[in-house]
Structure formats: structure tokens, C-alpha cells
Point group: C2
Chain length 323, copies 2
Amino acid sequence: MTIKAAILGFGTVGQGVYQILQTKRDHLTKLAGAPIELCGILVENLSKERELPYSVFVTDQYEQILAQQPDVIFEAIVGEEPGFSYLTKAIDQHIHVITANKVMFANHGNHLLTQAGERVGIGYEATTAAGTPILGTITRLLQVNSITKVEAILNGTSNYILSSIQSEGRSFQDALEEAQKRGFAEADPTNDIKGYDAFYKLMILSQLIYRKQPSWETVLCEGIDQITADQFINAQQQGSKIRHIASIEVVNGKLNASVKPQVLPPSHGLYPVDGVDNAIHLIGDLVGPLTLRGAGAGQLPTASAMVEDFLYILQSYPVKQHI
Amino acid sequence: MTIKAAILGFGTVGQGVYQILQTKRDHLTKLAGAPIELCGILVENLSKERELPYSVFVTDQYEQILAQQPDVIFEAIVGEEPGFSYLTKAIDQHIHVITANKVMFANHGNHLLTQAGERVGIGYEATTAAGTPILGTITRLLQVNSITKVEAILNGTSNYILSSIQSEGRSFQDALEEAQKRGFAEADPTNDIKGYDAFYKLMILSQLIYRKQPSWETVLCEGIDQITADQFINAQQQGSKIRHIASIEVVNGKLNASVKPQVLPPSHGLYPVDGVDNAIHLIGDLVGPLTLRGAGAGQLPTASAMVEDFLYILQSYPVKQHI
């Protein structure tokens, strides 16, 4: 018996998954109880040169991936489509899916989860804070606890820029350029510095914790690009830091969510978080305050989350038998 | 069908478990798929007054607890015995066990885990850092990752004393008395300030991560009571903090463990941890550095870990049917 896996999208994250499946082959076989067979990789452009063994099936046709009858699909494509349509088709065929696609999942996660029901596993740890196991902590380790409040730093780019303005006295423009030079910000940084990226991740967290999202248009979403020099100076003089915080809590039975810069005093659980890290500070009604901090991006941390989800799904759901 | 649970020891932690089983009754029934029936509480002194409904069976005879045929036993007794003997007998009868007893588990955990094999679940999250889900994060959320290094603040009393010496300029004696007054240190604080408590927890972590412990006599175990005023002043002048760190890593195939005060620079993942909190900073070979911080003691956080373990065991192992 083997477990058949396919990868959709072979950019940074898809290649990370491929790499882990290779380097951890023996360990994964032992944990999963059967060897993992990579039955196909879907790419956009077949003519692009890739360092892959000839034995790996590479195609630009999704139907050819489905024809391989994979047990599990890793989706590492960017944007709502074609990711959403691909995963819908996969779930229809009882294929477990694991995604790193936050824009798609913030928009369509509820649809996919409903479609999957109890038969099909959906892994989406990688959509939020890369390998930092925020979602697993909440859903698997804190089942009895009720999460009364969440505050989180979910955008590494914004956090890097804010850290560098406050600790090195850089201007916003200067800090942004430095982040771009070091690969922490994209050429078009709009999604990060306007807060949209953190917003998507917060909506995924909301769905996970409260099984619903607030209406998107009611959520205040401010980025870090409107903070004035005076605001930075004031925070510094108070011994505080400005951080870009995504928060959600239930107030009088209503979800109260926002994404915006906030002044954090040294006593705040997220105050120490500098650089490109992500972190979540939550309150459980039994366990009390809990903070989890780790990498918010990167090839291996993101692929790590996907392969950890993969293993959990193999352990929790039946897979077909390919003798 | 009901699930029968018993509590051994009715001090702070045992009462916390009782309280959660009551207040979360409906939620637990839903999660476990059947109502939980508290079939007995074992106490040392039957004549002590307790606020319990008459319907709860209270006894000072362990055999009477076993006669109830519980599915799961919560052990919240202090010290190696009688806890170890009780749990051995329970496992013999295929009863799942959940313990908060770190001295017992550091000494006999391996024996109990071997005895339990695959048939019986053993929950011990509460032995290390109370409700902060360190053990679950490592065993359930980071299965594919190899943990290459762990550094942790595992004794809240020591951390409180060190924080208060460094931030408020107290003397050691003064800080210890303040900790005792606030209930963060016991009348006899030896186990905490000599490092023994952190040592036991580190041995439990070692067993969990590396499936073995170093020989106890080879592990350097220093407490916080020998730190000189000069050492505090030096650390402060460098912008660093002295923290009591339990660490373990594999160097050249050998487990390298120590428990001792260390000078942490601001860049260290454990530098921000002040007060009675516990925290763990680990390196996963895929996910990179990860820090988890939360309460290291307390009635509800400790009982929270036990009830979360309870639920996980119910979901992972078959329980007998009591119609």
C-alpha cells in the first residue's frame, strides 16, 4: 500500500513541500504507516526548467492530476482561482486537501469545510503564520477551553518595518525599501502595508474559533502606512511600541474584529515581538493567557505546516488502498 | 452510555478538575460523545469537610475507586508514592490515566508508558508548565519536525524572584518573601530555588522528545540561590537578564542537558518572559524557532491541561461501554 500525494503549484512553497517529502521520506513512511508516493506536480508553465527527477510526473493539466487518483492534494497556488475550483473538484472525489492559499481560504474556506463534511480532511495551518501551529493549538490542544479573545501579529512584513522604524529610527520609506531588499516585502507591498494580508488571516481565525466571520465591511482594516512620525515618537517616549494588531473577541454576543496599528505597553504579551516573526496572544477561559511566536513566512516553515497537516489527516481519516 | 472518571487527590488541582467537569459538563458531553460520570474521589482524610454534593462517592480506599470500574483516572497527588502504585494498578486494569504529578512522572514515566503500550492512554501535559500545551505541541503538532534544541523557563517561582530582583532591585531574600506572601512560593521553597522542580520537568521533556533521559547525575542542576549581586549588576549593565534556564539538545549523538541561571541578551526568545510565567523556546528542523508562553502554575491552568488530555484520550482510545 502507498499513499498518493500531488502538489499544485511549484513555486517557493510547493518546492518546499517536495523537499520535505524527499528528505523526510523514511520518517514519514514510519509515521504514516505506508510510503508516500508523489503522483504528480501541477505547474503553470511546462517549458520552465526544473530540477526534478524524470520519474516525477509534471503536467499543466489539472485533469491529469485527478486521473492519478491522489489521496491528498497540496495546494500552493496564489489567489482565489484556480485554487478554489481545483479544491472543490478534489473534495468531490473524496481527496483530502491541504492549502497555503490564504486569500482563497478566507473567501471560500467555509464553503470547502462544509463541502468536505466529515469524510474529507482539510488542512489550512499554513494559511496563517506559516509553520507556527496557531490553528492546531486552538482546534486540537484547546478543545475544552473557550477562546475569549485573540490578538495577533499576522503580517511579518509590517512587523519588520515597524520594528526597524522604532529600533533604528528609519523613515517608513527607508524601512520598506530595506524590507524589500532583504526579501521580507514584495515589489508591490500593498497587501502587507495596507493590512489586507493580516485581515484575511484574521477572518480564517474567526471562522476557526467562532465558526463564523463578521461581515467583512464592518471590520476596521488599517495598515501601517498612515502612522505619523509624532505617533512613533509618542510611543517611544512612553516606553511603548506601535505594532500592527489583528484582534477579535465576542462582545455582547457579537464578533468584534479589527486590524490596525496599536500602541502596546511593555506588559502586553505581543510587545516583545520584533522582526518578521508572527505571534498570537489568546485568552482561554481555563488556561488563561497564552502566547505563541514563530516564523510568519518562509519556504520550510510554510511547507512544514502543510506536511504536519498531511500527517494529521492521514492519522485521522481513512485513505484509499493502492496496493 | 457514560464515561466514568475518578479523581485521586482532592487538593487544589483535584478540585480544579472537579470544577471543570461540572462547569463544562455540556460542552464535554458534546465533545466526548457521551456524558461524563464522576464515579469517585479518593481523599487522604475522610473527616475533612468538603463542599461536595451527597451524590459524589468519596473514599479513602483506592480499591473502592477501582471497584467503580472507571474508564479514566485523574491523578493529582503529590510525590512518588502512592501515585506510582495507584497508576500501575489502574493501567493493569486498562484504565486510562492522567497525571499532574511531575516528581512521580520524571522518575517512573517511562515505566508507565511502557506498561500502557498502545492500549491505554497516559496524559501528562499538566506535569510541565501547567496548561501551556508544550507537550501536545511537540508530540501532536510537530510530528514531522525533529526538535534539535529546547531551552525553557519551567519554574515560575524562580522566574518571579529573578524578575523582581532585576526590575525592582530587591534582594534575593526580600524577593523570596514577597513571592511567598503572594502565594508564588511555598513555605519551604527548596525544590524551586535549588532547581529541582525545573530538573524534573526537563527530564519529562527529554523522555518525550528523545525517548530517553540523560543519567540524572550527569546533568548540571544549579538553582537561583547562589547568584551574586555583582552578577545581577553585570547583566543589567549589558542590557541582559538573568533567567533560570532548563536546556537540552543532542550534541554528537549525546544528550546534553543542564538546569542553571543564564544571562540572556534581548535577542533571546526567552528574554521577555517576566513574572510567574513558564515558556519554552524550541528549534524544529523545518519550522525553525518557536516560543510558547503561558501560566506555569495555578488551579485552573493545571486542571485545564488534565481535562484537555482527558478529551484527547477519549477521542484516541476506545473506552468500555457502561450502558
